[in-house]
Symmetry: D2
Subunit: 117 residues, 4 copies
């Protein structure tokens, strides 16, 4: 099995180098590019209900899939430029969240929930 | 080696189930949560120069790392709810971009670049 | 009656000048600041239903009001830096939209709607 | 002189009513639409330098102007749905900011600035 995030990182690095686009990839610019892609994702959901968002048509799903791909691409790219290990960072954050929101305290408490996912 | 994206997907699924938070995780809501995290990333870069964004202090880098983790967390979560394989989707997008921006045509052309990364 | 957008523009100009913050207010930076504020607005709505978003508590409404204010502040500021007349631009856009979405063609057509507000 | 924000509010209300689009304009949806427009603004600036953002071409400026208009349109619309007086809210926020960032304490202090505009 290959390391998917590592593989993507290397492919994206090569992609930028071949095109001499590395010069544009400062973390500030990449953060902007990432949020632009996130907004293209949001756009697909802006006028539909929560229920409708759970049962997209195949065409819509294909479009949404491409937006998710774009977000991952910029996320991997900015993490590379900042020398961040995304997987390790996510595990640490998840550990953090587990302590911040203990199961026995937040379960079913939507008020608590409102302050967090 | 473990499959990192698959591992995260399962951990996040368990995290939500244990807290009964799955009910809040419609794709529409998750897309909103994702862009909110993307904006927290952008916030770190909003008043600094491109150069400064390339040499963050250690404290700042730690904060930025946590934002990147949050983005990945919601990205993996929404992909799971929509049954999207993030890695495969990113590879397909990258293949697409390679054809759209052939090396010999876009190299060093910042005008072309302006329309894309 | 005073011209509210003009009045805000002048107050914000003075505010930045007094603090010597004008140097940070390039349109690129201000666009980032604006989307960060827009995300703080989105954050208030991310886990609630469409119905709940229509009947906020007084506390929540006060918070949302402050986010709307922040968005207007950066919007007026960036428009000033780019020498854009916001009101005139909005009228032009509205005229445009009226022609693009004629009442007799789009009324009640949610499919059409999905592509636009 | 007319009250520009009030005038826009009424025009947008009429626009939505005529098309029967009011049903889609919950604050949650409108917050999403607003951030999507903010991202379209950000997109124009993502690959250019701070300096370049200060001297846009006429074509680019026309496009940016249309994005600013879209942001104002959704901002006025969501404020209407939430019964918020945008101008008053902005004045209150500005008063707040004046107290939070006193001229004699923050002038020229970019470190302080980093935490705020």
């Amino acid at each position: 099995m290959i390391d998917q995030l590592q593989d993507l990182k290397e492919r994206l690095r090569r992609f930028a180098e071949e095109r001499d686009w590395d010069q544009y990839h400062s973390p500030k610019n990449l953060a902007m590019a990432l949020i632009v892609e996130a907004a293209e994702l949001v756009e697909h959901f802006q006028w539909i209900t929560l229920e409708q968002s759970q049962s997209l048509t195949d065409d819509k799903k294909t479009e949404v899939e491409a937006e998710l791909a774009d977000i991952l691409i910029y996320l991997v790219r900015i993490a590379d430029k900042l020398d961040v290990d995304l997987y390790r960072a996510a595990l640490a954050k998840l550990q953090n969240n587990s302590e911040k929101y203990p199961v026995d305290q937040v379960r079913g408490l939507s008020k608590k929930y409102n302050e967090y996912p």
